[in-house]
Symmetry: C2
Subunit: 327 residues, 2 copies
């Protein structure tokens, strides 16, 4: 068994290249094989890590399709090519999400049978099984057959990542009844209800189930998924801000605030997006981990860990086996 | 000026009729004119409030359209008729939401020029202007012209309710750029951007802006709006539960936990859905307030207050003036 090499896009992200390279070095120090991809004149001291030298980079707000088409020597495109060409087994980027998807799709291609790759995001729910939300942003408009594949891929992803044998798959709607929702949701519900190959479909779920223990995988189109993901982020930011504000209020003695902070730390750590290693683009013919734009070195270490495990667990092969041909 | 009378559906809601009648009596004790609508043999002591006697009721899970068509002597249908016939100026129900919409629409009719009524829900954001989310569930599928009307109606509603002169109207999408989102969002963005009549359109907003101070009114289709609303509810429930759990941990001294609880109380009170008086169905030819299913007496008092103010402020007339004819 060969040790997986993870190609890290050193130029992508709000804190690139410094935090990215720092994270890659930490991962390497812990035994991970790393291929840094970026501009050697800008990435600083790599601590002896191998570098795939590139001359261009794709900005966070550039048009993804055009950027990937025109910037052939960008770190993002070269990272995807490294996976395609077998120089690495997986890639990690904290750069432009749309461009990361486009680079992975155009350079690695799709897993045979997959109609559309989708982004799987892990929403931590301390005290319950984490929720995998798929698609959380790759496909604004979807067909029922694609959503069925998102369910199949999401279940494989959850099983490998969290060891749940038959993850509960819920379809996001506005009521539990099969006849509620958009035509897309109603048709998808029908397809999932008669799905044969061991998918543990628990029916429709609602927005309130995203942070509960109702389903392990929640399937939706990329527009709704992205809105939900950001709504959760905003609500959590608001809630933690409000609690911190209360802790600072004059009625709370400093010693009380300190003990409360300590009690809240494990929760805050578990909710911290840097702990989760990023979203995974499911359905491309290689492992592609999308870390969030403001990734710290720690986020990169965790993203590299997610990428490494996905390779070792044979994520891509398992996805290929799980997807039914789109109807 | 005649004092507004509010028709209260005594039979609707998880805690009907006891909590509903209790709330109606409290509102009446504070000077509100009330018309209770329900089964006299079941609503108990009304404390002398007038009762419009009905013999049927619509269950929380009944099919809305059929229930309203077949149960002509239900409390919900009769409450809507009371507004249509001038026996009351507004109605309040904590019953079946779909049936409440259907009863209001079929019995009161639409405001002239309104293509589709929409539900406006207030999401409290302590420390910032509350967010009015419209449509939060009435119309699963929408056209761009309808969304423009939701924007117009939502702005009127926010102005009257919170006294903000030119409420900022945002369109819910998955990025700030006008070219992001579904075809519905892109076409609506174009229409709103060239909207002439004083609509303060601030462009696309994202899920994370629902609980921030970015926009006062957030416009979306009823599917996405309902998912967002329930996601916020679920996230807040999770967050408060997690904080309470941390407070109960052994490392936190009881006195520290008590002082933080005290500091958090105003926030919890502000976030409590019972404080907000329910959602308002905008665009029907009368005031219709939809209180949540688990409404307590206090929720009903607040819903009646919202209904009363909407009548006094001339909500329906202002909506009629604000809507442009649908394209």
């Amino acid at each position: 068994l060969v040790e997986p090499t993870v190609a890290v896009d050193a130029m992508g992200g709000d804190h690139a290249p410094a935090e990215i390279v720092a994270g890659a070095r930490q991962a390497a120090a812990a035994g991970q094989r790393i291929l840094l991809v970026g501009d050697p004149s800008r990435i600083g001291d790599t601590g002896g890590l191998p570098v795939l030298a590139t001359s261009e980079e794709i900005g966070m707000t550039e048009d993804p399709g055009r950027a990937v088409r025109t910037k052939k020597d960008s770190s993002l495109v070269r990272a995807a090519e490294a996976v395609r060409d077998g120089k690495a087994e997986a890639m990690v980027s904290a750069g432009n999400t749309g461009a990361t998807m486009a680079a992975a799709l155009f350079r690695m291609g799709r897993v045979k049978g997959v109609a559309r790759p989708a982004i799987a995001t892990v929403i931590p729910v301390p005290g319950a099984s984490p929720t995998v939300l798929v698609d959380s942003g790759a496909n604004v408009e979807c067909s029922p057959a694609w959503l069925v594949q998102f369910a199949e891929m999401g279940a494989v992803f959850h099983r490998l990542r969290f060891g749940v044998d038959a993850p509960r798959v819920g379809l996001l709607s506005i009521g539990e009844e099969p006849e509620k929702g958009t035509p897309l949701v109603k048709e998808t519900h029908e397809l999932l209800a008669k799905h044969g190959s061991g998918l543990n479909f628990v029916g429709n779920v609602e927005g309130r189930d995203v942070m509960s223990d109702t389903a392990d995988v929640i399937v939706t189109d990329g527009f709704t998924g992205n809105v939900v993901l950001k709504t959760v982020e905003g609500a959590m930011k608001f809630a933690f801000g409000a609690v911190l504000g209360a802790l600072r209020s004059e009625e709370v003695p400093d010693s009380a605030a300190a003990s409360l902070m300590e009690a809240l730390l494990p929760l805050a750590a578990e909710m911290d997006p840097d702990s989760h290693g990023g979203a995974v683009l499911l359905g491309v013919n290689g492992v592609c981990v999308i870390s969030h734009g403001s990734s710290s070195a720690r986020a990169i270490v965790n993203a590299v860990g997610v990428a490494d495990r996905a390779v070792r667990e044979g994520l891509v092969e398992q996805l290929a086996r799980a997807v039914a041909p789109p109807g």
